[in-house]
Amino acid sequence: MKKYILKRLFISIITIWLIATCCFFLLRTLPGNPFATQQLLSVEMQQRMMSYYGLDRPLIEQYFTFMKNLLHGDFGSSLKYTGQSVNGIIASTFPVSAQLGLQSYLISFPIGILFGIIAARHRGRPIDYSLVAFSVLGVSVPVFVLASLLQYTFAIKLGLFPVALWSSMKHTILPTLTLAIGSIASKTRLMRTLMLEVITEDYVKTAKAKGLPTWKIVWNHQIRNAIIPMIPSLGMEIVSILMGSFVVEQIFSIPGIGAYFVNSVRSLDYTMTLGLTVFLGVFVVSANFIIDLIYGLVDPRIRVTK
């Protein structure tokens, strides 16, 4: 087990290094420079800015500087948001995105699983059809439509929640719901399919032949086996949830990390894009690592042994 963890750790570090390196060079192959868009700056001024940030040095030298700083956990300062460090921006925006993501996840995971189980247990009956209809709708309605719909109904017509912004618990409810509904829908579909597969398994028949009550068969023999294929996707999902949703954050004017990410790429804010990508990379890699360990807990067949 120890050996496995060490091995995984080593692979993880290599992965993150690869992400950082590829991203660094890919970004620099993009045409233009970060200051070209600001028309107020003269060519001379641009040159001075470039040399101030060290962007006029040889690329390879810049790479080593970037790597050295990265080792110290320093992502550098933003080229666009003058005077702000990338670390500072992450520190202030990430918690917001993470809260939004976690809230919606905590709602969508249990409800999605539950809906999936209910639909599968009542296959071909009205409740199954309604849940399937809901999930098809939930998956296919774009998030911005859903968001506006919720804003219109609950904020404008009913006045129950604020339309936008992020300052109290009440503000978080509509964006959380927006994110959760799509996620519930996709989980319902997935869990329903997985449950239907498991229901016909031989061991379910064995359990039934033992005379166990239905709830016990469902709980002990069906759910645990059905949920296994969902686990690997969990890692990516947690990441996408924590890194925020650009669209939802825009619509509700939430100061999350999503907008910074998208804008940094658009405006060639090298340090910001790199910083956020590496941050995200670390997250993906560690989430997958943890998921792999959890996987073994649920499915003894792939449990890591010495």
């Binding site: 061991y203 005379g211 023999h221 645990r224």
Partner: protein, 346 residues
């Protein structure tokens, strides 16, 4: 009339599919006395499994549907019971082992816990006592180091061991009837012999009756007290193992016995097969379902279904050849001659 432990009368089961009704079991009668082994033999799709799974109420309904029939267990018809009431019979009165031991155990649960579930449910004992019973049963089926096996996961065991676990699990609540649905099909021959041996031994210790479903006549010879030969959802011939093996009276049984390869056979000679395929159960034939494949078929066979003719002492057969009006036929080489049952049919 003596009361049997289990008696199944006129069992009819159909599956409702989009293509129509599949009549999987079409009027099956059999009985089982305590402590005996009844073998139900027949080729794939003849309704063997469906019959016993209907008894256990294991088939998903719908699509399966019990059209008619009585399942009398200890004098009580259990066919009309609700699913909830059946839970008290399953595992406790009847237990079942399945064909594929590799998939019959839950891969995510320890073997011992899977055994204890049933024990706690039916024997109303504490977890610790259930554990003791389970470990004891694992020992009885010959699993080395049962204490350790209790904590193992199914994937760490071989097919033979898993089938032993299945037997241990099935017998842990002292059921009166053990239903074994092709228990040795997925095992190699040596393992097969051991598993059959364990079943025979435990049957004597626990006084369990066994319904053995198989298409392997070798297994039947080793285990069965009585045999029922099924074909196209009906029992064609039934009787004592001795009677069916040594005085088979139905051409289908002749075919089955003739198709059994043996060691003295000339290497170059072709293995015997029954020509044709079983009838389509969407639209079963009017007369005898075997008529189309039977080399002795007469006109009557195509028109009317044969009744059950009594051959002798509990040996019955559904074949018009047993009618006194039928011509004398000689069964294929190596199969004993036909005994006319006379006209004492029902």
């Amino acid at each position: 009339m003596k009361e049997h432990l289990l008696e199944v009368r006129d069992l009819r089961v159909s599956f409702d599919t989009y293509a129509g009704e599949v009549q999987a079991v079409r009027g099956v009668n059999f009985y089982l006395d305590s402590g005996e082994t009844l073998a139900i033999v027949g080729e794939s799709g003849c309704g063997k499994s469906v019959s016993v799974q209907t008894m256990m109420r294991l088939l998903p309904m719908p699509p399966a549907r019990l059209k008619s029939g009585e399942i009398i267990y200890e004098g009580k018809d259990i066919a009309p019971l609700t699913d909830k009431e059946m839970e008290n019979y399953r595992g406790k009165e009847f237990a079942m082992i399945f064909q594929d031991s590799m998939t019959s155990l839950n891969p995510t649960m320890r073997v011992g816990n899977q055994m204890c579930e049933g024990i706690v449910r039916h024997r109303k004992v504490s977890k610790e006592e259930a554990r003791k019973i389970a470990v004891d049963m694992l020992g009885q089926v010959g699993i080395p180091n049962p204490e350790a096996a209790f904590r193992r996961y199914p994937h760490t065991m071989s097919g033979g061991q898993r089938q032993r676990v299945m037997i241990a699990m099935a017998l842990s609540c002292n059921p009166k009837i053990l239903i074994a649905d092709e228990p040795t099909t997925a095992l190699d021959v040596t393992m097969q012999a051991q598993i059959l041996d364990i079943m025979n031994r435990l049957k004597d210790i626990h006084h369990t009756a066994i319904i053995l479903i198989t298409h392997d006549l070798g297994v039947v010879a080793q285990m069965a007290d009585r045999i029922a030969v099924m074909y196209a959802g009906e029992i064609m011939e039934s009787g004592d193992a001795r009677q069916v093996f040594y005085q088979p009276s139905h051409p289908y049984t002749w075919g089955l016995l003739g198709a059994m390869p043996n060691l003295i056979q000339d290497v170059k000679s072709q293995l015997y097969t029954i020509p044709g395929t079983p009838p389509d159960l969407y639209a079963p034939p009017v007369g005898c379902p075997f008529a189309a494949r039977c080399e002795y078929a007469m006109e009557a066979c195509l028109k009317e279904e044969p009744p059950e003719f009594a051959v002798e002492g509990g040996h019955t057969s559904r074949c018009w050849l047993l009618d006194p009006r039928a011509p004398q036929v000689t069964p294929p080489e190596g199969i004993p001659a036909l005994k006319k049952g006379g006209n004492d049919h029902e």
